[in-house]
Amino acid sequence: MTVLELSRWQFGITTVYHFIFVPLTIGLSLVVACMQTAWFIKKDPAYLRMTKFFGRIFLINFAVGVVTGIVQEFQFGMNWSAYSEFVGNVFGAPLAMEALLAFFMESTFIGLWIFGWNKLSPRLHLATIWLAAIGTSLSAYFILAANSWMQHPVGYKVLPGTHKVVLTSIWALLTNSTALGAWPHVFFASLVVTGVVLIAVSAWHVARNNQLEVFRRALRVGLTLTLAAGIVTAVTGDIQARLMDSQQPMKMAAAEALYNTSDAASFSLFTIGSLNGSKELWSVRVPDLLSLIATMNPHGTVQGIDNVEAAYAKKYGPGQYKPIIPVTYWSFRLMVGFGLLCALLAALGLWLTRRRRIPRSRWFYRIALWGLALPYLATTTGWIFTEMGRQPWTVFGLLTTAQSVSKGVTASSVIISLTVFTLLYAGLAAIAGWLTVRHVKEGAPEEMQQPGAAEPLPVFQY
């Protein structure tokens, strides 16, 4: 394999792995903040137990998210130095802002929250988890603004005679329509992940009639959150589809493997065949749906892959301008499908638990537990679609992935780092997963809140 291919694998593995932990960090920090707020207001000890129980899951997850985040920031320079040189003027700004405005806030206030249980006043201690939660969401905004600039560059100009772009408006970059569409989608998808984690964990205990005063409530919170956030995620995804149709028509066409521009384009639920536009053995299609998604009009025109490619060849010079179609086609469907299943799971659970009912049948609990994989599969395939759908570009219309790779880095170096990172990530995932399962099984016993003690004990101490 070439340095380019190896570097792409490493970037993909690191980013997908990092994003396993990010959504739960974003969502669970907020949910734990809400739980602690409920305890602060109502003084109901069940909320404190909930706060501490889910707080621990949050911290195990947060640790892996933080450490893999360091690799994220360094790998642009390490593996993509040509990219860094080309875009640093523009892309570096939101990254530096993320560190200064968001990373400091997250990490400092998480530390205060972990160790501040009996050092800060309850009100101040509550503020620390809220500030940490706001920090994580702010961090997501900056990095999505940076990513959105790669999807849809704005507020820049190319310096004539050099291989460099420079920033002309930071405001344009931070209010990029693509970023304004992406942030809510990622934010609410993170809440879906969090909701499903709450569902799976609580269902495990409710099925065993265990600590119902905590977990029945947490189950309802998880179900409501998943359904509500699931609906908003779908709506924001739909808004993004129209932005994508106007900004990256190739990605829209690749999402459906639509080769020829057509009016009233249908959307296939699945296709058996090669997806190369030649032969299709069998497919299930919803008429007009693709046109509706892309243009809000059932008879709207959706451009086809071949037409867009011909236009790009004219604009950017001869070359291949389409992504790997089976990857975009299937990742798009799987993202939508897994996301819908999350909402369906939540709707089913809400029905079964209506009016304080406790579901009797074992299969519901089994589905709730295995359902844990669904939101993770949806967010992963979602990022694979977004990033692979932009190929062959790193910065759409300005710089290709092949032009972005580091010049001085050898293939053997990348083989070493790819191997080391992959093994390390696998080990970390195993340990974090084992710790989480172990903690979940322990549940939220009453000891976690000391009866008689004036203040709760610092159970989070290292």
């Binding site: 640790a63 642009f76 593996n79 530096a96 001085g408 390390l424 710790l435 003690a453 101490q461």
Partner: protein, 347 residues
């Protein structure tokens, strides 16, 4: 002073902040197996940096981000050039970071002992390698006309680089020992004080030789002054440590680290990454920097938000200013056991 130089100074400040803050974190990690004789003692040691280590590490991320935004070419050449060295640092920081979070999630001394070994390695390696990296940056590395690094990992492991590595390793360890003297009590405190004096015996000559060699080949009148002051501050820190004046000793090592970074960056200027192949290929403050507009935007962001960050990070240190003792370590309730004895819940 132009904006590019302003950002060069700002990045130097970020690195000195990183070395002063994560320096003692690294030191605590390195000293963990030597000063902590049992599980409870090691837990006290780790918890002295528990609330702050993660915030301290963000200084590195901010230095990285600032370099990317203000000097894209420096970021690109340096990070791709020092690829394998950075890989080792990243792996160390990853392992170390999860160690802190995971070590007490299972209440077993053996589980914790394994993580503590990893904390030692994860602290010692970056403490050594940052020195290797900065010594090589000042000395110059092989860069071609496109500013692409043409050496490999072994190019960096020259005797001057390794000496720089030993300097940061010993300085951070000393800084950490003095920090522990400030944050613990009784026997642990005395052990930390004794360790500080012993480490100073190695750190002072190493730093003096390194700074002298650096000034002989790369020095300027202004940095001769900062180098001399760094040496004075270090000797002062060692003397204060010997007399048990922990506050003064800590101020001394912190000042040493800041002055050492000032010396190295001062020697570097106006280069940011000198080429040992040909001076014409060197990356400089002017040829590596971003355009004016980006620097203006980032300057405003830095001027407005850095004081805010300093204020809340400073406040964190104020909140956790009390010394830790073994009785502060709460045994977490184990699974299934009834209401564990509340050991020493502090007010």
């Amino acid at each position: 002073m132009n904006l590019a130089t302003f950002w060069f100074i700002l990045i130097a400040i970020l690195w000195s902040g990183y070395f002063v803050l994560e320096g003692f974190d690294f030191g605590v990690g390195i000293l963990l197996p030597f000063l902590g004789h049992d599980d409870t003692e090691r837990r006290v040691l780790v918890n002295t940096i528990g609330p702050v280590w993660d915030g301290n590490e963000v200084w590195l991320l901010t230095a990285g981000g600032a370099t990317f935004a203000a000097f894209p070419l420096w970021y690109a050449s340096l990070f791709s050039g020092f690829y394998l060295a950075l890989l080792i640092i990243l792996v160390a920081l990853i392992v170390r970071g999860v160690c802190f979070e995971f070590r007490s999630k299972v209440d077993s001394p053996r589980w914790r002992a394994n993580w503590d070994r990893a904390i030692f390695a994860g602290s010692a390696l970056p403490a050594l390698l940052w020195g290797v990296a900065f010594a090589n940056i000042v000395r110059g590395v092989p860069l071609d006309a496109q500013h692409v690094y043409t050496g490999n990992l072994l190019t960096l492991l020259n005797w001057y680089g390794l000496l720089g590595g030993l300097v940061t390793l010993s300085l951070f360890t000393l800084h950490g020992a003095i920090f522990l003297g400030l944050r613990t009590t009784a026997e642990l405190r005395q052990r930390a004080q004794r360790a500080a004096v012993r480490i100073a015996l190695a750190a002072v000559p190493l730093a003096a030789v390194f700074l002298a060699l650096t000034q002989v080949s790369h020095g300027k009148p202004a940095t001769d002054v900062t180098a001399a002051l760094a040496a004075v501050a270090l000797i002062g820190a060692a003397a204060a440590a010997l007399r048990g004046r922990e506050g003064w000793a800590f101020a001394g090592t912190a000042l040493t680290l800041m002055l050492a970074v000032a010396t190295l960056f001062g020697d570097l200027w106006p280069n940011v990454l000198p080429s040992s192949t040909s001076a014409a290929y060197s990356l400089t403050v002017n040829n590596a920097s971003s355009a004016h507009y980006t620097l203006v935007v980032m300057s405003w962001v830095a001027i407005i938000f850095t004081p805010v960050v300093l204020a809340y990070q400073g406040w964190t240190y104020w909140v956790f200013r009390k010394r830790l003792t073994s009785s502060d370590i709460v045994q977490p309730p184990t699974a299934g056991s009834q209401a564990a004895e509340p050991v020493g819940g502090r007010s």
